[in-house]
Amino acid sequence: MIARLITWLDERLPTEGVIKKELLRHVFPDHWSFMLGEIALYCFIALVVTGTWLGFFFHPSNMEYVYHGPYQPLQGVKVSQAYASLLNLSLSVPLGLLMRQTHHWACLVFLAAIICHMMRIFFTGAFRRPREINWIIGTTLLVLAMLEGYLGYSMGDDLLSGVGLRIGDSVALAIPVVGAYLSYLIFGGEFPTPWVADRLFFLHVFLFPAVIAGLIGFHLLNVLIQKHTQFPGKGKTEDNVVGSPMWPNYALKSLALGVATFAVLFALGGLTQINPIWQYGPYHPQDNLSPDQPDWYLGWLIGALRLAWPYDLHVLNHTIPEPFWPAVFMPAALFGFVYLWPWIEKILTGDDRRHELLDYPREAPLRVGVGVTVLTFVILLELAGSDDIQSNLMHISVEKLVEIYQWAAFLVPPVAGFIGFKIASELRARAHIGDEVKPARVVLVRNAAGGYDEEAARSV
């Protein structure tokens, strides 16, 4: 059927050569770590599918509504229509809760897959020339995915989402000069306004997904055109790519990975509760939750907000608010560093050559050191973001934990980075031990006289 479609297409568009050479016989090198980005792709597909389904039931409105439904604890409570429609979706619509929880889990796994994919790209040096474009697109996708997830769980108008939005508004307000304008621009006035639900809905279901889908398309097109990188090995050079053909081997494998990803997401969505909005209750501006925990990919920002030192700066009768440093400057500096890393490494190593063969991580100890430093810093912030839970579990006061994390966030990352650097250097040295001193293999051949001669020039 599809074979005939290809013929039909070729009679109308000269596509035969492209389809055969660039798609069906496209060569994809085999390594498990090359599949991480695909998991992210399949999560995105799951998000679009479940999200489309959810869209039929969600009513983005801040209009007040007195709840009358199957959930007794909220009987007669004033809630927004957005929140009411989510309660209805979760508790009354068949498959509703499964779809909502799967959507939420798909987002959590999406972000995890993007970050794992990015670590693979970083530590193997896949971002080097000629792939800087995809590094930029990929980093942008990470930022957009984080914002898209935040918009998503902020839409429900439950208590957690409302408090999260209030923090987001305060962070916008904290930007010098333009902060208040930006906050008013986003919400249409002083938060909270009656337009919050409509604006979040438009951003979350239309604008962000469209941009993300477009960038993913561009990202994949670049992979097709440039062809995938490969680890060094027999027959593999900077000028070729060795691996399975897209059709049928790789297509089947990738399809299996996609189906397996969906299986895990639906298992999580069905069996593991996530974001129980009926337990949080509706958002009322004077209420709050404790412990307060955002989705995991925002935990590092909450951690930074919790650790930062309590000082507003005053400049000429104006204020640079304290949250600016942990929630605006720090993430901007961090992502700026990530965006620029391909060029920073070029300056550090002086290597601007084209690289189609990947490094094993140990081959670049400096890169390992930098990567481990940054990751340790972010992980410590992430841990600090749940210090209220740790305080409950470990019976240490929150104040003490904050102090420990403040010191740790500065002291531990460089130490961890240095250890990473040393381990990589050591592994590299060992991997190359004997590279030059290995004694040549000598093959002895029995000669006619019964003695032995060395066989000359035989390749091993």
Binding site: I175, E190, N288, W309
Partner: protein, 283 residues
């Protein structure tokens, strides 16, 4: 060839997995019809998808020939198609466009000025920013609880707390206020606030000065207020000064008075902008 024992074994294994997938999907349909709940729905669809994934992996590993192909990479940069490269073609056009130097400068100035002009519509938001400095509290506004019930001198026990609003504005985010009844004489009020806390009733903005969360936790034993978002702690007995956490300022105090009938009123709005800091806020 398809009769070899190895093939039969593969067919049996992959076939069984696919049948499991079919059964899983059928169970999913049944769970949906009988509304069996998210656990049964999720588990059955996951089993169906998981079995399908395993079958596909086995198919690709066992049935398909393991072909290894080599393909050449495209040279970079692409070989030129004509006499001039794209960048040369562009540079040539650019030279033609900017051949009149004086005019080019003027063109840049025009576009630049237009760009600056385009920023100015944002200024129409400007006057509204004034609202960040005000809440719904006004001189004489009656203090009510979240349900709109007026607060009386007898409403609160000593060392207890409630959230209050100005009458008519119980949904006003920036007006939410913590009303605490302190033991008389325990809060050292500065001279300019001497009459702000009649009968030990003292009121502070509930909007955290750090990131705007409601300061929702209250510990009656030592009269501490805590914001659960980022754990700033404020001490009522020190006029809600921050004693721990990232907030940079104390919670602003609302001046209160009690009328002849014993009902609480605000003397005025807050004397400073409440909530998180922002650029226009004077130090």
């Amino acid at each position: 060839m398809s009769d070899s024992p190895k093939h039969k074994r593969q067919n049996r294994a992959i076939g069984a997995t696919l049948i499991l997938s079919i059964v899983g999907a059928a169970v999913f349909i049944a769970t949906d019809i009988y509304n069996a709940g998210p656990q049964a729905e999720g588990a059955s669809i996951a089993v169906s998808l998981g079995a399908l994934a395993i079958a596909l992996i086995a198919w690709s590993k066992q049935i398909l020939p393991q072909t290894q192909l080599v393909s050449e990479r495209p040279p970079l940069p692409a070989p030129h198609s004509g006499p001039d490269s794209a960048s040369e073609t562009f540079a040539e056009g650019e030279r033609e466009v900017v051949s009149r130097r004086g005019l080019t400068g003027l063109l840049a100035a025009a576009v630049g000025t237009l760009g600056v002009a385009a920023i100015f519509p944002v200024r129409s938001l400007g006057p509204m920013i004034d609202s960040l400095f005000h809440t719904r509290w006004s001189p004489g506004a009656r203090v009510v609880d979240g349900d709109g019930v007026p607060v009386h001198r007898g409403s609160l026990g000593v060392k207890s707390m409630m959230t209050v609003f100005p009458e008519g504005y119980t949904d006003s985010q920036d007006s939410q206020t913590l009303l605490i009844r302190t033991p008389p004489g325990t809060v050292p009020l500065p001279p300019d606030r001497a009459n702000w806390a009649p009968d030990g009733y003292i009121a502070f903005s509930k909007v955290c000065t750090h990131a705007g969360c409601p300061v929702a936790l209250f510990r009656a034993t030592d009269l501490l207020l805590m914001c659960p978002c980022h754990q700033s702690i404020f001490d009522v007995l020190q006029l809600a000064a921050r004693i721990s956490g990232p907030a940079a300022r104390p919670l602003p105090q609302l001046p209160l008075e009690i009328d002849a009938d014993g009902f609480l009123h605000a003397q005025s709005d807050y004397h400073e902008a409440i909530g998180p800091s922002f650029w226009e806020r004077p130090g």
